[in-house]
């Protein structure tokens, strides 16, 4: 008889735990053994005894926390099955950010997929999502309401470029999360043929270098020199979201405040942040893609980790799929934890 799913994966205060393999997935507190889906700071934290993640995620953690971020590390090869204790484990691309992976755990004929954060839309900076059929699918629901349908990213980038053309005397300050979103925006701009330098806030620098060293062409991305800010009329500047309204952005010539995020779909959210040019570019699945992915995995049961759980659970139930919210704490809305990381990076970079 197949194992029950809750025998394979349970919830603990540290996060999802697999007793048969004695490991946690994306634990929010230090543990003995952690499997990490991707490098965002709410999922990848420092201080675990051992960490298993993709090579790129390990590099990202090294850049963020220093090379001694864990007692020991183990590189997870994509699509390779590894035995851990009494379960087999396999990492596959999740399409979220560079190095992001879903983790499939299998034991006694039952397969559970922990998808971490994922998206289905095109992204030139990471491998595309791969559907992994399973019995239990564990999904996020950051944008788990049917009002969230992300538009074509090309249209959004074009909006930015049109605005740069219309206001050549103003600097366009684009808030974007330091890991993933920032580099994706750069790559999208390059795809649209924008070949001028894209100016970066200091907090973006090291991760952008890491992306480049992974062979992702992002072009010329000079760091903004404090004294030169007033000369950047007509330029595109990318900075952490916390900086778009900060003292830092004041010195640019008549700045246009832009923000690249899935939240920008809702006007009130954009207004609340004082955004003048919202760019709906998200690294998460929108509603249609969440629903589609659940169906494509063929899962009979869905657990929803965080976000707008209720609507997605409701949808699963009306489509004959058992579903429950996990109400997991510690995982941010898109980028909220990232904000903190960016802010601290900024503090050391206050110039």
């Amino acid at each position: 008889m197949a194992l029950r799913s809750t025998d394979i994966l349970t919830q603990t205060p540290q996060g999802l735990y697999c007793p048969l393999g004695d490991f946690h997935i994306d634990p929010v507190r230090p543990v003995k053994r952690a499997l990490i889906t991707h490098g965002h700071s709410d999922h990848a934290r420092a201080g675990h005894s051992s960490v298993m993640a993709t090579r790129e995620t390990l590099r990202i953690m090294g850049v963020r926390y220093g090379e001694d971020f864990a007692g020991s590390t183990q590189e997870a090869l994509l699509r390779e099955t590894v035995r851990i204790g009494d379960v087999s484990v396999r990492f596959s691309p999740a399409g979220h950010v560079l190095g992001s992976a879903q983790i499939a755990i299998e034991a006694g004929g039952t397969r559970i997929v922990v998808s971490g954060d994922y998206k289905r839309a095109e992204d030139p900076t990471c491998l595309p999502y791969e559907v992994v059929p399973c019995d239990v699918f564990i999904t996020e629901a950051t944008f788990g309401l049917p009002v969230f349908r992300h538009p074509d990213t090309r249209q959004e980038v074009k909006k930015l470029l049109d605005s740069v053309e219309l206001f050549p005397d103003r600097a366009h300050i684009v808030g974007a999360y330091a890991l993933g979103k920032a580099q994706r925006v750069m790559a999208l701009l390059r795809e649209e043929g924008y070949d001028k330098p894209i100016h970066l806030h200091g907090a973006m620098e090291r991760l952008t270098e890491l992306y480049k060293s992974e062979g992702i062409p992002l072009g010329d991305t000079p760091k903004v020199v404090a004294a030169e800010r007033s000369k950047l009329a007509g330029a595109i500047v990318i900075c952490p979201p916390s900086s778009i309204q900060d003292l830092w952005s004041r010195r640019f010539p008549d700045p246009v405040t832009c923000f690249a995020s899935g939240w920008m779909r809702v006007r009130a959210r954009a207004r609340q942040k004082g955004v003048e040019l919202p760019l709906v570019i998200s690294d998460h699945s929108d509603w249609d893609d969440l629903c589609r992915t659940i169906l494509e995995t063929g899962a009979g049961e869905v657990w929803v980790t965080h976000g707008q759980e209720d609507a997605l659970v409701h949808w699963c139930t009306t489509h004959g799929i058992r579903a429950r919210p996990l109400h997991m704490l510690g995982y941010g809305d898109e980028g909220e934890a990232e904000e903190t990381a960016a802010a601290s990076a900024e503090a050391g970079d206050a110039a």
Binding site: L145, L295, T318
Partner: protein, 624 residues
């Protein structure tokens, strides 16, 4: 429709006037006729179709979505038009559709077969993902992005729906009957994207609200051809959507359109505030003075059409035709020409306060009851035309004589002259300004907000020419209040805490407490703004999104001297009062918060302005 939608979308987020103007000019320059003309009509409120009710839109979306998902979405988004625009299940987005009756609702009687059917539907839109390794599963094949794929749903082998142009939408709306309207709107909604649907809803419900005044839109049109906005204003009221003749003219491709309006609007003459240093430069004997009434500036124009029927119009200061709101006043315009004056409410010969006037304004339905309770009155002070004769080049003193003669001839209690204030020196006038009641204004003094000073020789010139007309407002009210909250500003000031909510003391259940009485975001210098911003940042106790609560109490807090023009009662504010034009007049770094004013100070000001004559019902009660 997409260009128009993109324009509205961008305008809605843009706080700066000049940037709005640039967006509008860019739109008019790059959008062909007749679309741009209809856009202009939409923004100037010149469209004539019958608007759709929000209920219709709601009904349409409810037929198409799972009620529970709609409820959660509406709750989250908070705005009906936006929720509908975002959730609308266009072909290819079936995942919000209500559960089919076959499924029998929540999780009951679910068959494998139906799951399969759903699966086929949902996996149809193109995907960028790698195909699943499991054999026998439906796998996506196309390489296009899901967004594009979403346009054509699986099982919909039809070509993509036709995206309507703005002209099509407006021309169709003008001819569509009530019963066909829902189907029309639904078909357009299917064809448009999220922003397009949002703009469509705003358009069909006639609730544009993107912060563009008619004046700004006309200014943008004028800028297309490097003209002054008043040149457009002059011919505006003879024109009709889609304004192809207007665009041809400003772009230098056509003749100046003839104004076919026998009662056109003419741009009004405006005044400059009088500064202290001006007195030394101005000779009192060159000037005439009137009271400055606390009402609404209006222009009344009358003429006759080609069929000899009288045409009577009332325009706002910005040229908006507001005749429909004042049928009682329109009736009184028994002359030909154009006169300039102030809209007031007069009961039993006494001018009522601005608070009373406001109750007459912005009403959708102008009922006989409203007219009886709030009788509109025009107190005139200038004449621009008499018959066909343009009086604007004449000196003010001569125009005044012509005006006096006209008002005498009209002999209508609804139209009277704004009296002159006699004075021999600036000191005389200062005394009159300080106490209008004793100098001829009598009981109307409360509706006076200072003096107007006009050069006797001044012609009537459009705009705000220098050296002719001055306004000398009465001193503002002042109150010492304590800063309670700071909020980020907009546009250039978006990184500063530049909007301050302030409060005064009142007795609460636990002793004295501060109650917010207003919010101000100007009156200080750039240098003071830096200091205030720093103060907010350094004294924050709580954050609510863009708002920070600062420290305040008996022994701490910053006192702001707030200047304002008037007060009115308000049910929306905790304190029960709302201020007109509040601004920070001084920052009292020196004053302890405990010494700030109490709410009673405001109550007294309120009572002054409330010596109103009560309308009909109350009066009868008083007489009884």
């Amino acid at each position: 429709m997409n260009r128009f939608a993109a324009l509205l979308d961008r305008l809605g987020y843009e706080p700066r006037r000049n940037a709005k103007l640039r967006l509008l000019v860019d739109y008019f320059r790059h959008t062909p006729d007749p679309d741009r003309g209809y856009a202009l009509a939409a923004m100037t409120g010149a469209l004539m179709f019958k608007e759709a009710k929000p209920g219709l839109i709601r009904g349409l979306v409810e037929e198409r979505t799972d009620p529970e998902l709609f409820r959660m979405s509406y709750h989250y988004v908070g705005d009906l038009a936006e929720t509908v625009a975002l959730i609308w299940p266009a072909p290819g987005h079936e995942s919000v559709a209500p559960p089919s009756p076959l499924r029998g609702g929540v999780g009951v009687g679910v068959g494998k077969q139906e799951r399969g059917a759903d699966n086929a539907v949902a996996s149809g839109p193109a995907s960028t993902s790698q195909s699943s390794p499991l054999p026998g599963r439906t796998t996506p094949t196309s390489n296009s992005s899901p967004q594009e794929g979403g346009e054509i749903g699986p099982g919909h082998n039809n070509p993509p729906p036709h995206v309507p142009t703005l002209s099509e939408v407006i021309e169709t709306l003008a001819t569509t009957g009530k019963s066909d309207l829902p189907a029309r709107i639904a078909a357009w909604m299917d064809a448009l994207d999220e922003t397009g649907r949002w703009a469509l809803i705003k358009l069909v419900t006639r609730e544009l609200r993107v912060g563009v005044s008619a004046r700004l839109a006309k200014t943008a049109v004028a800028q297309l051809g490097g003209m002054e906005p008043d040149e457009v204003e002059l011919i505006w009221h003879g024109l009709e959507a889609p304004y192809e003749d207007l665009f041809a003219w400003v772009e230098g491709r056509g003749e100046r359109p003839e104004s076919g309006n026998p009662a056109p609007f003419r741009p009004p003459m405006l005044s400059h505030p009088l500064e202290d240093e001006d007195f030394a430069k101005l000779e009192a004997s060159d000037f005439l003075a009137e009271w400055k009434w606390d009402g609404i500036r209006l222009q009344a124009a009358a003429g006759h059409g080609s069929d000899e029927r009288p045409v009577r119009r009332i325009y706002s200061r910005t040229g908006e035709d507001v005749s429909r709101a004042f049928p009682d006043l329109v009736e009184a315009l028994d002359f030909e020409g154009a006169i300039d004056g102030e809209l007031l409410i007069v009961r039993e010969g006494r001018v009522q306060s601005f608070n009373v006037l406001q109750q007459r304004l912005n009403r959708k339905a102008v009922t006989p009851k409203l007219i009886a309770e709030f009788p509109a009155h025009l107190r005139v002070y200038d004449i621009l035309f008499e018959g066909e004769e343009d009086l604007r080049p004449l000196p003010f003193a001569e125009r005044r004589k012509r005006l006096e003669a006209l008002v005498t001839r009209l002999d209508d209690p609804r139209i009277d002259l704004s009296p002159m204030v006699p004075f021999a020196s600036w000191e005389d006038l200062a005394a009159a300004r300080a106490d209008p009641a004793s100098l001829g204004a009598g009981p109307d003094a409360d509706a006076i907000e200072g003096c107007m000073i006009k050069r006797a020789s001044s012609p009537y010139l459009p705009g705000r020419p220098k050296g002719y007309w001055y306004k000398w407002k009465r001193d503002p009210y002042l109150v010492d209040a304590v800063m309670m909250y700071g909020q980020r500003g907009h546009g250039k000031r978006s990184s500063f805490y530049s909007d301050y909510t302030f409060g005064v003391w009142r007795d609460g259940p636990d002793g004295e407490e501060l109650v917010p009485v207003g919010k101000a975001y100007h009156g200080f210098t750039d240098e003071e703004l830096l200091k205030l911003d720093r103060y907010v940042r350094n004294h924050t106790v709580k954050r609510f999104g863009p708002v920070r609560e600062v420290e305040y109490g008996k022994d701490r807090g910053l006192v702001l001297e707030v200047a304002f023009e008037g007060l009115q009662r308000s049910t929306r504010h905790k304190s029960g009062v709302a201020m007109r034009f509040p601004r920070i007049s001084r920052i009292r770094w020196d004053k302890p918060a405990a010494e700030a004013d109490r709410i009673e100070t405001l109550e007294k000001i309120l009572e002054r302005g409330e010596k109103e004559i009560h309308p009909l019902k109350d009066r009868e009660a008083n007489e009884a």
